[in-house]
Subunit: 524 residues, 2 copies
């Protein structure tokens, strides 16, 4: 008892959690709900006695297993001596209703201190960012805390060192692909432009020339189709990392769903919260994109930044800043990056929606198809060829175009489709398109001033895309075209009559194609 009163000249100051003595035992009670985070519900009064409150962390112990959980409290749902377990935890512990669990009060994780430091304007060290990412991955941080982290990143910004730290932490949060090659290509598009399926043309061109390009893509979050959704019309896109490795080593290229593997899983967790806040802090955007490229071992990367009304980046100056930043951070992590600022003001290609986009892609690979999709794909592929020395300066476009026109890219696409479990002999017209359709025609003469990404996207989604693969919009005209009264502008396709009806009704409020107008507004 010598230490009790501190009557020692040099009492050792240990940071010890005195509450570890307050471990207590509860009976498990199944709550038939799952939320993706490890939440337990304790009786409020009982928890308070153990200094545990809503939002606190508790470790739970069952047999030899322990889990870190976030505490919710309730006096109504759980009685004294009970602990409510969400379904995920129930399954994870393989516990039965009524069995006993130990509840152990925990200190706040260190990551909360680091988040607080960030709020106070401090630059975080790489190891501190690591801890934050690890704690988010382990569900040790609540949504409230993760939100504070993202908000602080948005307001305070990240230094380059922090972005590099977050990129490495992103890579470490999951698995990595190692195909043992010196040069590995990749491409990425910042997004916001509908249609725009350049990946499905660039990958076969680049792979046809003997390069490796293990492309992972996302599914649609709020758009009418992600590259993974579109590719899925032709072949499987859900593969494990070992399967991906086999496909890439065999064919040079692959187009798979990134979310199907454990690549940079931290990103999904952050995106969920960022999406809910509509916050896209630049540092997190860079770390997210470059982390994912690093995960697949990419050494040479072309990044497409579409600019214009309705695109994610509204004007060129902003795109240039972002481009410089990509190149700088890329070089810090040993990645050669070239950024291309492209016209993102209107859709690329004619088809919008998984199957309609696939038709465009196959036509382009056959040497025809929409000009803009074909042209843009050759630009991107060409720059990638130049970047990794496969083509001389300013000759990349020519090499890419030749590969496309020669049919080599199509042959490579068919090989990739086969290795991803699809039909290598697929023809554009084989792909089923929604049986219900509706033509929208011009009702007077004029010139097309703008085709709106967002409005087209909404119509395609209301019609059923991306879930209904055959749903979407097919556009016949481009910006600047002169049209006459009665000319067909676009067709809406749907697999359901009701959905087509909704899409038609939405036209009353949307203006997907704007004509040139002289008088913009009258002020009273």
């Amino acid at each position: 008892m010598d230490k009790i009163n501190g009557w020692q000249e040099s009492k050792e100051k240990k940071r010890v959690d005195v509450w570890k003595y307050k471990t207590y035992t509860c009976k498990a009670k199944l709550m038939d709900i799952s939320t993706g985070s490890r939440i337990i519900v304790l009786n409020e009064d009982e928890a308070k006695e153990h200094d545990i409150y809503s939002g606190y962390r508790a470790e739970i112990k069952y047999k030899t297993k322990t889990l870190v959980t976030i505490v919710d409290v309730s006096n109504k749902l759980v009685n004294d001596g009970e602990v409510g377990l969400f379904k995920e935890i129930f399954d994870e512990l393989k516990i039965k209703d009524g069995e006993k669990i130990e509840i152990i009060h925990m200190n706040r994780p260190d990551s909360i201190k680091y988040i607080k430091d960030k709020l106070d304007g401090k630059e975080l060290a790489a190891n501190e960012i690591d801890v934050i990412v690890k704690d988010i991955m382990a569900n040790r941080l609540s949504q409230v805390e993760t939100s504070a982290w993202i908000t602080s990143a948005y307001i305070k910004g990240f230094t380059d060192n922090e972005i590099v730290g977050l990129t490495h932490a992103t890579v470490k949060s999951g698995d990595t692909l190692n195909i043992g090659q010196k040069v590995i290509c990749d491409k990425h598009c910042i997004g916001g432009v509908v249609g725009n399926r350049t990946t499905m043309v660039v990958v076969p061109i680049v792979a046809a020339l003997g390069l490796y390009i293990p492309k992972t893509s996302s599914r649609a979050i709020t758009s009418p189709s992600g590259t993974a959704d579109t590719m899925e019309v032709l072949a499987g896109v859900e593969f494990g990392i070992d399967e991906l490795k086999k496909i890439v080593l065999k064919t040079g290229g692959a187009m798979v769903w990134g979310g199907g593997m454990n690549l940079a899983p931290i990103d999904d967790k952050l995106i969920k919260v960022r999406h809910s806040l509509s916050l896209d802090p630049e540092g997190m955007l860079l770390a997210s994109i470059l982390g994912k490229k690093k995960c697949v071992g990419a050494t040479h990367v072309v990044i497409d930044i579409p600019v214009g009304r309705g695109a994610k980046v509204p004007y060129v100056q902003r795109a240039q800043e972002l481009a410089h930043h990509f190149i700088k951070i890329g070089s810090s992590i040993g990645m050669k990056i070239e950024t291309l600022i492209t016209d993102g003001a209107e859709p690329v290609g004619n088809g919008i929606g998984p199957a309609l986009e696939c038709r465009d892609v196959l036509e382009v690979l056959k040497g025809g198809g929409p000009d803009d999709l074909s042209h843009k794909s050759c630009i991107l592929a060409g720059k990638l060829l130049e970047l990794c020395g496969k083509a001389k300066k300013d000759q990349g476009y020519g090499v890419a175009h030749k590969t496309l026109m020669s049919g080599k890219a199509l042959a490579k696409m068919r090989q990739i489709i086969e290795y991803q479990g699809g039909d290598p002999n697929v023809k554009p017209d084989d792909l089923p398109i929604g049986q219900y359709n509706y033509d929208v025609n011009a009702i007077k003469n004029g010139k097309i001033f703008h085709i709106d990404n967002k409005a087209i996207s909404k119509i395609a989604k209301i019609a059923g895309a991306p879930k209904d693969k055959g749903a979407g919009v097919y556009i016949y005209r481009a910006r600047g075209d002169r049209v006459e009264n009665g000319d067909k502008l676009f067709t809406i396709y749907s697999e359901s009559e009701a959905k087509l009806g909704f899409a038609i009704k939405a036209l009353e409020y949307l203006e997907p194609i704007e004509m040139r107008k002289m008088l913009l507004e009258v002020m009273d």
Copy 2:
């Protein structure tokens, strides 16, 4: 169909939610869980078809009732055509399992735009703050969004106009007390000091002199006792607003639990998130405290800001800034405020824990008790008397002390206890104290250098306070006291032998009483 293609010279630009056509119907499925926020769980694929994602809002409609809810999605828990309802919603709608509900996609609430404006550094107008507060009250904002609001308030700070706006919005978020008097007194303490039950001495003194002081207090959040917990040993503290009015009009004073009424309910919602983040943005602190005072109609308020090691405000300069800010904002909302910066480095009074604190209070009201509690209460009461003109400048202390010593304050306290349903003839020794106790004695001679609020608080809580009213700590010595080996320093009381054991064990790691040390550290 004239409008479809925008081929009109002056198309009316309406902001219309096209998704309103995407209302759909689901069968209700009870989720046996409640979280305090209105969450529904939709089938992920089905929700996506209706452009609804995790974190979005949806209105649900059942018979004539509609509710705004936050969406969670899952493909495992709910099937196509089902909607999972948390228990609160189930009860609120009075719906049965399997009955049909309409799901209506909603636009983002405007408050999210205002929060984003705040993140971007814009000053918010009063009506914008109103909308944010209303949306939080209506559960239209998720925890992620509320967290972003608090984080932005912390990083960006609030202007005085914003604080005034938030104060008014806080008042409007719930009910108000109107006792129809011109002068209404109140007091508040920033907190962090254990013991410190000045309210229970100040209120009877002030009320005994004919003033009105309708005091609402909180229960302990993380401390061993809140004023409401301590008062509850003597009388009821949970009253409706009409009952409070009756008590105050009859006796002049009242000491009730603020959380039992619908006063400034926004505050509880914000505190839950702030507590989880450990963030206390000054603007929110001011609006919270002054909003609550405004709710009860207070016109003259004394605010106690304890300062020192372990207190909430660590040094005097910070306390002065805060004091000036209180006075300034108070004047903007028509409230006369005086702030007192007090010594908060050690506990006030001897007893810590509900019943032990009550014994101190009753002894003080009888003219004895701990000197510091008696002295500090007279200072606070005296300043309040001067502030509202009941005593001349510098004479408040004397008037308060006389009222205390004359027994008038005790008589007033007995009257208040009676009106709050307690026993007016209660004696200090009547109050039951934990039957298990343990004395901690000095083990050598020395001088007390520091008594630690946080360590004392932890010991009292481990011993069972505030849930076990008789649990806590009784301290016999004060800072600066000379003690000899074997002198009794403090006693731990508990209602349970096990809890007492835990509290004793915690002493190994805590240093509630520090002796003076010459050698602080040896650096190698």
